[in-house]
């Protein structure tokens, strides 16, 4: 993922995750489930599999960071 794309995705992700805080902030002020959904969306867009393993097998051309 190039830097400009990463910034665009980051903007979307923080908007989704931080726009509302939890009513009763037990174990953190923001919903971890929302963060998980947002991350999976990004991973799915880039690798076409939201559940893609971290370990790269062979020479993948897609940068995961």
């Amino acid at each position: 993922m190039d830097v400009d794309t990463a910034i665009t995705y980051y903007g979307k992700l923080v908007n989704q995750v931080f726009s509302s805080s939890k009513l009763w902030p037990r174990d953190g002020r923001f919903k971890a489930t929302k963060l998980e959904e947002a991350i999976k969306t990004v991973v799915g867009d880039v690798t076409s599999n939201p559940e893609e393993p971290l370990l790269e097998i062979g020479n993948s051309s897609v940068c995961r960071t």
Binding site: V17, G28, R29, L35, I39, V43, E52, L55, E56
Partner: protein, 196 residues
Amino acid sequence: MSANIPVLFRTYLSHETHSGCKIWEAARATSAAPTFFKRIEIGRNQPFIDGGLGRNNPSRVVLDEANTLFRARPIGCLVSIGTGQAGIISIKKPGFLQQVLPTDVIEALRAISTDCEATHEDMLRFFDNSPNTYFRLNVDQGMQEIEFSEWEKLANVEAHTMQYMKRKEVDEKLALVINAIKFTSTQLTIEQLSME
């Protein structure tokens, strides 16, 4: 991070056994900043919290890893990018509701910023005899007012960063960074640097 030993989430095979985790799990674990999100358990119910709690500046960890992987190869350069000047990274005082949080966690958050600059000092010393190998870029003005949940302030982050990049000293440093990335000048390996 488990206790004080950092866990590295690698995209490649190494001497350590790979946890076999997914990309989203690794991303989630590295963003499990206390007071923001609850911790995540991966694999054998091992809880992870964000490395910010002890490895806010991962330069030392990355050097160790590079040394293990590329022992005999000369180092090109190490570029460290900060998120705002140490000591002034904004951590708001706990509000009424946050007082239910353990105070040791809040104290730990306050300690992050000092840890960051201490590592930078260590790196400057480590690369003392190898000029133009280690670089740190850190936007040192304006960022202190921005907490990392303040998503609506992304434009402010950009503005402060652009101001920083325009400074003469930073502009000159960037030219050196580009040069170091394109042409490796040092013939020293990390191992040799450690022995000096």
